[in-house]
């Protein structure tokens, strides 16, 4: 009995400890709730916590209102390292560069107030504004710009995108390779003037400079805190990071000294965790929410209370099916065309996606330079598809294509985050089976595997997507389809296409240049290297108290156009 009583004591002790633990923890949380001590957040000093209505550290602030959005943790807030849209979303608000993209997708001067381009198109001379300051209050000089470009292209930083965005500047590649101490094509003329020299006239150079890789960062801050400076970044943009609690929330606060005037919106809160955005929107926890396929019928219903708040915005994102033109049977253009002619994208978009995406009319999305409204893609035509297949060098036998080396297995690879394959892929499979009599297998892999195999050119056929980085056809046509491009994962090579793309690289006449891209686009579609599937759309509802909200086709600074009247 005594032994058992001892045990009982132990047990009750354990329970008591558990209760105390939970209680104690919550007490700590309660006490420390406001100060966020010990959390890995970058709390900006000088402002009080929460509330949003309270005036910040800056007495001259005229901004008001608080916008509540849902978001995700950025991979990094270092503009020179960021490559993903979710990071860029924050970076374009906190930092800025010499040039930017307006909501109309025009390239506009930002930190620079004047630009002079030499007659041969290779020398760009920028004059900086004299009223541009970092959040810390220090003036932005030409030295800061030069430091930023040199940092972005340094070997030590290992930026995966510096070569793509800044590689056109003379000496940038040498600097990236560690063969030079700095980029020779970047010259500081005086405090407010900086000059870039390019290796060739590149009409798309300014478009590339709008990307965060060319944004300006604070040398003093980075050198004093090289590891952790992004938790409290000193940028030049309209907003500054007030708080970042990993996985919980990000708070941006308006920059009263922003050179284009303080944004009207005082505070932006991004909730980084939580479930369905629409439910939170309807519970008045969010001001903007995207609409999922299950809710879109309700949003479209004119009698619904969601309907007046609902809007659809086209995006610069295309999804496609890609064929590896070096791998049988897709080394035969007839097979590729047969696959394209036998899928009914319009119907699949309408049924399985409830018309929340638009069937693609080409490779260039609506709104991009060079876009035309007419449908350039392969139509749904089963008879033509069967005819094309009959013209190919392969024959069909028991649901498989048979070539000179025997029957071929056709496998389509896609990224599978969860259990179910992309719903449209399953529909395509069924159409190829019924219309062409061909069995195609789905293979799902995780993202890492998919990328490795895509880069190695091992995928026979895959489901992919492309998000435009800057609004120029070069960003998709040249990068993905030029036979010499490292991003050409299709082994696609058409000398005619190459000729158009190369001519367009240096063509100074904008209209002629776009025509060259249109010609290349049509050739690529006729070769059926890609089957363009759909252009994405953003379906959102916005709280009526929010004015000026828009969903841009690609990531651009937008918070300073928004107001909240509550």
């Amino acid at each position: 009995m005594s032994g058992q009583n001892r045990l009982l004591a132990i047990l009750l002790g354990v329970l008591a400890v558990l209760v105390l633990l939970v209680g104690g923890l919550s007490a700590v949380l309660l006490v420390g709730g406001g100060s966020d001590d010990g959390s890995p957040s970058g709390v900006r000093s000088g402002t009080s916590d929460g509330g949003g209505s309270g005036d910040g550290g800056d007495g001259s602030s005229s901004a008001t209102g608080r916008l509540r959005l849902s978001g995700t943790d950025p991979v990094t807030l270092d503009p020179h390292l960021a490559t993903d849209a979710s990071s860029a979303e924050y970076i374009v608000e906190i930092f800025s560069g010499l040039v930017t993209i307006t909501p109309d997708l025009e390239i506009a001067l930002d930190l620079a107030e004047a630009l002079d381009v030499s007659a041969d198109g290779t020398v760009y001379t920028f004059t900086l504004r004299d009223d541009a300051f970092f959040h810390s209050g220090r003036r932005v000089t030409a030295e800061d710009v030069a430091y930023s470009i040199n940092r972005a292209t340094s070997r030590e930083l290992q930026s995966p995108v510096a070569r793509a965005y800044l590689g056109d500047i003379v000496g940038a590649r040498e600097h990236l390779a560690g063969q030079a101490d700095s980029v020779s094509g970047v010259e500081v003329i005086d405090d407010r003037t900086i000059r870039f020299t390019l290796d060739a006239p590149k009409p798309f150079f300014l478009a590339k400079l709008t990307y965060p890789t060319a944004f300006v960062v604070d040398q003093q801050q980075i050198e004093s805190n090289p590891r952790n400076w992004t938790r409290n970044p000193n940028g030049t943009g309209p907003y500054r990071l007030q708080e970042w609690r990993l996985g919980e929330r990000i708070v941006l606060e308006s920059n009263a000294r922003f050179y284009l005037g303080e944004p009207p919106l005082k505070e932006v809160l991004y909730a980084l965790s939580g479930g369905s955005a629409l439910t939170r929107f309807e519970n008045d926890d969010l001001d903007v929410a995207s609409i999922s396929i299950n809710d879109v019928d309700r949003a479209r219903d004119p009698s619904s209370d969601l309907n007046p708040l609902y809007a659809v915005w086209p995006q610069f994102t295309i999804s496609y099916l890609a064929f590896n033109t070096a791998k049988p049977p897709f080394d035969d253009v007839n097979v590729r065309r047969a696959f394209g002619l036998s899928i009914d994208r319009a119907k699949i978009a309408a049924v399985t996606f409830n018309s929340m995406i638009a069937p693609a009319t080409g490779i260039l999305a609506p709104g991009l330079p060079g876009y035309t409204a007419d449908d350039k893609t392969l139509p749904f035509d089963p008879d033509a598809a069967r005819a094309a297949l009959a013209d190919s060098k392969y024959t069909i036998q028991d649901g498989r294509l048979v070539g000179p080396d025997g029957p071929l297995t056709i496998v389509i690879t896609e990224v599978g985050a969860g259990a179910e394959a992309a719903i449209d892929t399953q529909a395509f499979l069924e159409q190829w089976r019924t219309e062409l009599g061909l069995d195609v297998e789905i293979r799902q892999t995780d993202f890492a595997t998919y990328l490795a195999e895509q880069d190695a050119g091992e995928l026979q056929m895959f489901n992919g997507g492309w998000i435009m980085d800057y609004p120029d056809p070069e960003d998709i046509l040249d990068l993905k389809f030029h036979s010499g491009s490292q991003l050409n994962d299709l082994s696609y090579a058409n000398p005619q296409v190459d000729a158009f793309l190369e001519a367009a690289r240096t063509e100074q006449d904008p209209e002629l240049r776009l025509q060259q891209y249109r010609d290349a686009e049509q050739l690529i579609i006729d070769d059926a290297a890609w089957l363009p599937l759909y252009f994405s759309q953003a379906h959102v509802v916005v709280n009526p108290a929010v004015t000026g909200w828009f969903e841009p086709q690609m990531v651009i600074p937008r918070l300073r156009f928004v107001e909240v009247n509550r």
Partner: protein, 327 residues
């Protein structure tokens, strides 16, 4: 017994060594690596190769493992690819903290509700209540988390709009009464995850309580107590309850294991920024250092749980003399 505990604890580093090497090899054996995942859609093979070389990802597995081990022993678990500028430890500890709070609360509820239900079933053994209670709890145990969460969300968040649809906002909110008295109430974000965690757990605790309570009731001293004319409630509280509780110590470890496994799904489904969800994200994006760190965390947890279970077995059942068995 002290020697036994020490021997078992000495075994822990060996387990960790094998487990991390195993995980390390498997993670790197698969195609793909975090460098290309982190690079985005413009992937320059030359730059990626250079990054791999600089991050030490181009050596042999054994070389890489040695380097990792050397750093890890000194407490440096590397840097996450998913979250640049943060060390893995910095990311993991707050997430572990969130999961631990939820898990502890779930455990307390599982035992707090399971024990009384078990006693009730034992007390009313022979009536319809006993099989009804146990059957209901068994049924709750059989519903997979995946099936139970969407209806819960629909009911509480969509239909009646009384609970948030997921996320995390600390353990307690405070209600101020007159600005003086603070009443902590559980944060509304907790209810649905706690339901999902605890519903499948009641059955195990209640059933064990019931069985031991039934056995205790047959013991001599209970009969003696009844014979002495003690009121039934006194018998239940002074004799049956304490003695039925003892074997429950052994299932704490099992219940904890259940909560840990459940965390993977509950956190993923409900958008709770805990360690379970993070583990899955790390695995999918092949975030090597993060995978290794979470493996270490879980392995330590499981080894300690096993040890605790073995020790409590010995305490409860004197026949299992811990340390004296052949192992």
């Amino acid at each position: 017994m002290g020697a036994y505990v020490i021997r078992r604890l000495l075994w822990l580093p060996v387990v960790l060594l094998v487990v991390t090497f195993f995980t390390f090899t498997i993670a790197r054996f698969g195609p793909g690596d975090p460098v290309s995942v982190a690079a985005g859609q413009i992937r320059d093979p030359e730059v990626l190769a250079q990054i791999r070389a600089d991050r030490g990802l181009d050596g042999t597995i054994v070389e890489q493992y040695q380097r990792w081990l050397f750093d890890a022993v000194r407490g440096d678990f590397g840097e996450s690819f998913q979250q640049r500028g943060f060390t893995v430890s910095e990311i993991i500890f707050p997430k572990m903290w969130i999961s631990a709070q939820l898990g502890m609360l779930a455990l307390v509820i599982v035992f707090g509700v399971g024990i009384p239900l078990g006693l009730l079933a034992a007390r009313l053994s022979g009536t319809w209540v006993d099989p009804f209670v146990i059957g209901t709890l068994l049924f709750l145990q059989a519903i997979p988390v995946l099936v139970v969460i969407p209806p819960l969300l629909w009911l509480f968040a969509v239909q009646y709009d009384i609970l948030p649809v997921g996320g995390w906002d600390g353990l307690f909110d405070i209600w101020w009464i007159g600005g003086v008295i603070a009443i902590p109430i559980p944060d509304p974000h907790l209810y649905i995850p706690l339901l999902a965690f605890t519903l499948p757990g009641f059955a195990g605790v209640a059933r064990l309580t019931r069985i031991t309570a039934l056995e205790v009731q047959r013991e001599d001293y209970i009969r003696t107590a009844r014979a002495k004319g003690l009121p039934e409630s006194a018998v239940a509280f002074r004799h049956v309850l304490p003695n039925s509780l003892l074997p429950l110590v052994t299932v704490v470890a099992f219940a904890l294991a259940g909560v840990v496994e459940g965390a993977f799904f509950v956190e993923t489904l409900l958008g709770i920024p805990g360690i379970g969800r993070f583990t899955f994200e790390a695995v999918v994006s092949r975030d090597y250092d993060a995978i290794l760190a979470t493996t270490v965390v879980f392995s330590v947890l499981f080894v300690l749980m096993n040890l605790a279970a073995d020790l409590t077995y010995g305490l409860v059942d004197p026949r299992v003399r811990v340390g004296a068995t052949r192992s």
